[in-house]
């Protein structure tokens, strides 16, 4: 911290003595002012006290005309003008000394005094003054730091509030992604969804098509706004496909170009289902997604995987997809699920052995509940899957049951 140039006022009716005292204080590099009596000193001190640069030390003689030094000291105290005072006394009057000290004189010096005596006294006082100045400066600096930080904090709070409302909007948008509002003729659908975080990238959507419908289930990597953004983008792309009518493979190829050019670098796994009610058949195309499970209405036919393989989406890499085409009978069901379901894991407490539910485990759970109506079957399957993992999630869970009526409809 820079040293402040201190101000000293010397009050002495003998101008020669005042000048000499001032000269003795040269090493302190202070600003020296002299006054020829107590009243003049009082006026100077009073005026300076009302400014931002009051005097830092008063050195005053006692015997002076107009206003004595002791009167000056007493008046300063009456007016509450705080200033360290060094009184120069020459009379040896002990009562005066006591009175001066009681009036608040900081130090005194008997005449005659040596240069060393004066400098020692002044040095002691000025060190305290300097320290007080530094303390005050520090307090002011801290005050302004606090003010500045408070201002910054207010700005952060405002930004946070804005970001929070954006995130809230993103969360509500993401949640609405899994809502299938419009009924699709020829389709009964039951969705069980348990998000791992408020934001994520699991979503499903359905498009009515001339001969049936297309269904898309996507799992975008991550549980953040980026994942939800990609999910929204894919959903828009899928809705556009309602007009274009690309099949699963072509849709994934086109989607991958859009994702790769978007530069997200997010891996997306997806399954595209096209149901043709007229032909009573369906096609499943997978992009590195768990195989759907086909549950025939005929209980004697075991639930089976619709095995297809394919590369994940989202990267500028060679792609390949297989498509499985199967026929169905009215009342047959398909269960689609994200890998958050098939990777549900149960840990044995004592051994630490981990058992993954897997697609086969899920198929077994469905097998046990397939006699129930679709919605109940999906609810019970979901409850049992969660119970298997003792409610420990590592990813979003989305499991969808579709019951295929095989009833053709006229698209409006």
């Amino acid at each position: 911290m820079d040293k402040i140039r201190l101000r000293i006022l010397i009050a002495d009716d003998e101008s020669g003595a005042a000048t000499l005292t001032g000269a003795m204080l040269t090493p302190f590099k202070a600003e020296i002012t002299t006054a020829s009596n107590g009243r003049e000193a009082l006026e100077l001190l009073t005026r300076a006290s009302e400014t931002e640069s009051p005097y830092d030390l008063l050195i005053t003689d006692i015997d002076m005309p107009v206003m004595r030094g002791d009167e000056l000291v007493a008046t300063l105290r009456e007016r509450s003008i705080p200033i360290p005072i060094l009184a120069i006394t020459g009379t040896g009057d002990k009562q005066l000394l006591v009175r001066l000290m009681r009036s608040g004189v900081t130090e005194y010096l008997d005449k005659p005094f040596s240069v060393q005596d004066l400098r020692e006294r002044v040095s002691t006082i000025l060190e305290k003054v300097q320290a007080a100045h530094e303390q005050k400066q520090l307090a002011e600096d801290q005050h302004w730091r606090v003010v500045s930080m408070k201002h910054e904090l207010e700005q952060y709070e405002q930004h946070f509030s804005e970001i929070r409302s954006q995130v809230d909007f993103a969360i509500s948008t993401y949640r609405s992604l899994t809502e299938i509002r419009d009924g699709i003729p020829g389709l009964q659908c039951a969705i069980q969804s348990l998000p791992y975080r408020d934001l994520g990238g699991d979503f499903c959507a359905v498009n009515p098509m001339p001969h049936g419908f297309d269904f898309l289930l996507v799992d975008v990597a991550g549980h953040d706004m980026g994942a939800s953004y990609i999910a929204v983008l894919i959903k828009a792309f899928f809705e556009e496909n309602r007009k274009i009518g690309k099949n699963g493979e072509d849709f994934f190829l086109a989607l991958n170009s859009a994702l790769a050019s978007n530069g997200s670098g997010r891996m997306c796994c997806a399954v595209f289902l096209r149901v043709d009610n007229e032909q009573q058949s369906f096609e499943v195309t997978c992009a590195s997604h768990p195989a759907p499970i086909f549950v025939a209405k005929d209980f004697t036919i075991p639930a089976t995987m619709v095995e297809t393989t394919g590369t994940p989406l989202g990267f500028d890499a060679p792609l390949s997809f297989d498509t499985s085409k199967l026929s169905f009978s009215p009342g047959d069901r398909l269960v689609l699920y994200t890998d958050g379901v098939s990777t549900l894991t149960r840990v044995d407490g004592m051994s630490g052995q981990r058992t993954i539910l897997g697609s086969d485990g899920l198929r077994a759970l469905i097998e046990a509940e397939r006699h129930l109506p679709l919605t109940e079957m999906m609810e019970m399957t979901s409850v049992k899957a969660l119970s298997f993992a003792r409610h420990r999630l590592a990813d979003d869970l989305m499991i969808i049951g579709l019951e295929l009526s095989g009833e053709p409809h006229v698209q409006h």
Partner: protein
């Protein structure tokens, strides 16, 4: 009353039913575990211990300070612990342990046991002994160490590679990409899981100039069966060579 006893394999307590002593027990348990399992996150264990102890104070002993609670923490393997909490109440109904966390944040009912359930491998209640036993596996704090020699940089992740360490994973991979080493070996013997976010990071690296053209090479060694299956399922085996497969962890 606060009594603590430590042996080679376990730490046991007897305490009065007060919340401040619960804090002391948790503090002592944390110090005990740190002696054995450094580099592991203890958040799950402390949540389980706290929720079960609080449940014993509030519901088991119904806040009666005259009643005691016993707690035993036993190390049963690397990063694995068994925690047994005994109170003098009526015993905890086992079905209470299967209650899931409420989905709605406004739900008022207790979350404590469900929270413990989420963080424990398994929790068993024996009402006749008035004891609840929890098994907890600590999570390894993931970090990445790397060495380079003769044009090969080896990156050895310590712990699982999931979204929480995706930025660090990306940084070490880019450090290899920016280096002069033509080959990268990912030494996976200490990694059990890699999630799709980090798979995305890995694939992004594979698609970068020089790597995609095969001028620079990436190998995965000592990957667990699960990891290899994951790489196969996602067809990353076309981009990354897998050598010396490890055991399933």
């Amino acid at each position: 009353m606060f009594s603590i006893n430590e042996s080679d394999t376990m730490l046991s307590f007897r305490i009065s039913s007060t919340m401040d002593l619960v804090d002391r027990v948790i503090g002592s348990m944390t110090g005990y575990v740190e002696n054995f399992d450094q580099g592991y996150g203890m958040n799950g264990l402390t949540i389980v211990a706290r929720e079960l102890l609080v449940n014993a104070v509030e519901h088991g002993n119904k806040g009666d300070k005259q009643l005691e609670i016993g707690a035993v923490l036993e190390r049963i393997g690397i990063g694995r612990y068994r925690l047994a909490i005994t109170d003098q109440g009526e015993g905890l109904a086992p079905e209470r342990l299967s209650e899931p966390l409420p989905l709605e944040s406004t739900t008022l009912r207790s979350r404590g046991l469900a929270l413990a359930n989420v963080h424990a491998d398994e929790i068993i209640s024996d009402p006749t002994k008035k004891t609840v036993t929890a098994f907890v596996t600590l999570t390894r704090n993931s970090h990445f160490s790397s060495t380079a020699q003769n044009g090969v940089m080896t990156i050895a992740p310590q712990g699982d590679i999931t979204a929480t360490v995706a930025d660090s994973f990306r940084t070490v991979l880019l450090a290899w990409y920016d280096s002069d080493n033509p080959e990268l070996i990912l030494e996976m013997s200490e990694t059990r899981d890699m999630d799709s976010v980090c798979l995305s990071v890995l694939v992004s690296l594979c698609n970068m100039p020089g790597v995609a053209q095969g001028n620079r090479h990436i190998r995965l060694t000592n990957a667990s069966v699960d990891l290899v299956n994951l790489m196969t399922l996602t067809r990353l085996t076309r981009l990354i060579e897998i050598t010396s497969q490890g055991s399933s962890k």
